[in-house]
């Protein structure tokens, strides 16, 4: 009973703090959503019996790295923007706490827009080429698209050129990649 009471008290504190620091809450909840989606992808990959052990050795770390990279980019872009917005608002209107929090909130959203919609897609396009080459170098057989929903480019092998149909197959494997997913 004491544990439950303690958990409720901690929950109450977190709730109050989240309401008072809306910018931080929006930033953290977006990052948490991203982390949970990546976790689900990774678990789906690990538990998929139709993907070989050797392939999993490559695909699972890649999936984890991909998720970590996305969140790191989001944080690296958003935190400085939030700090900057907070400083500027504090300088202009030091007594208006609500306005300062508003500036932080808008900065959290702006950071999400820049990182998830501009930086991540551009970097993903570049990194996918490297990943494809690495898989080919290790001579791994990519799993068929209908059983793998990860983020590599399983259809783009030298025997399967970059055609429209291959791309359609490929996009079917990209169920949840890119942007803030949930």
């Amino acid at each position: 009973m004491n544990i439950l009471e303690g958990a409720a008290k901690t929950g109450g504190k977190i709730l109050k703090s989240s309401v008072e620091n809306n910018g931080n809450f929006l930033f953290l909840s977006a990052a948490a959503g991203w982390a949970l989606a990546s976790l689900a992808q990774t678990i789906g990959l690990i538990t998929n019996k139709e993907i070989g052990k050797e392939e999993k050795k490559f695909l699972v770390p890649q999936e984890i790295l991909d998720g970590t990279f996305n969140i790191a980019t989001y944080a690296a872009v958003t935190i400085p923007i939030m700090k900057c917005a907070s400083k500027m608002a504090t300088k202009k209107m030091p007594d208006n706490k609500q306005a300062i929090e508003g500036a932080r909130t808008l900065a959290a959203i702006a950071g999400g827009v820049v990182s998830s919609n501009i930086i991540t897609p551009v970097l993903r396009n570049k990194s996918s080429v490297v990943i494809k080459k690495l898989m080919e170098k290790k001579d791994l057989t990519p799993p068929p698209p209908e059983i793998y929903d990860g983020r590599t480019y399983p259809n783009f092998k030298s025997k399967q050129p970059l055609t429209m149909q291959n791309y359609i197959n490929f996009t079917r494997t990209m169920q949840n990649s890119g942007s803030l997913k949930i």
């Binding site: 709730l15 202009k92 306005a99 909130t105 827009v113 396009n125 803030l180 949930i182």
Partner: protein, 183 residues
């Protein structure tokens, strides 16, 4: 042009639009509104990035942009609906006196009756119920969306992408929205 004194009249309730008032309102933006902003940006920027990717051919660029647009639209629609729904449900729960009392107790500064009453007043009379519901609803929505991400987002995105691709395949030259930008 002369302006009559009557036209110069401003209501005493009108406080003007200032950066401070806009930012103060922005402090109340909740997660479904954040998701709407991100979704709108995703539907705009990501297809543009795909359409200007010179490493792939024109058809691939268009299919890729269709996919990005569909993903942005479906992800935003489910994200907004689920977040908004969870928030509404929790806001309704605050109509229950016992629930409100519990939240007031655990969010109070301390355990004194005065602090708890102050907390209750915040919930009932100062928009606290809506603010707490926004936070609690967001957390609940994250859990719900772990499931709906696979059950709704993925299949609906595929269906919409295929529909857009079929339309393009039937009329590749008439799809001016994409082809012009993809050149």
């Amino acid at each position: 042009m002369k302006v009559s004194p009557l036209n110069n009249y401003t209501s005493p309730n009108f406080k003007g639009i200032s950066a401070g008032s806009i930012l103060s309102k922005a402090a109340n933006i909740n997660s479904w509104q954040q998701r709407a902003a991100l979704g709108l940006a995703a539907m705009t920027f990501q297809p543009m990035i795909d359409l200007t990717n010179k490493e792939v051919d024109k058809d691939t660029r268009i299919v890729s942009a269709n996919r990005s647009f569909a993903k942005g639209l479906v992800g935003a629609a489910t994200g907004i609906a689920i977040r908004g729904g969870c928030m509404k449900v929790i806001e309704k729960a605050f109509q229950n006196e016992s629930f409100t009392e519990k939240i007031a107790k655990y969010t109070a500064e301390n355990t004194t009756e005065e602090a708890i009453n102050k907390s209750k007043d915040f919930i009932k009379n100062q928009g606290g119920a809506k603010k707490y519901a926004a936070v609690m609803g967001t957390i609940a929505a994250l859990g719900v969306m772990l499931v709906t991400n696979f059950l709704i987002d993925a299949p609906v995105t595929n269906w919409l992408t295929n529909k857009m691709n079929e339309r393009y395949e039937q009329n590749p030259d008439k799809d001016t929205t994409n082809t012009e930008a993809a050149k």
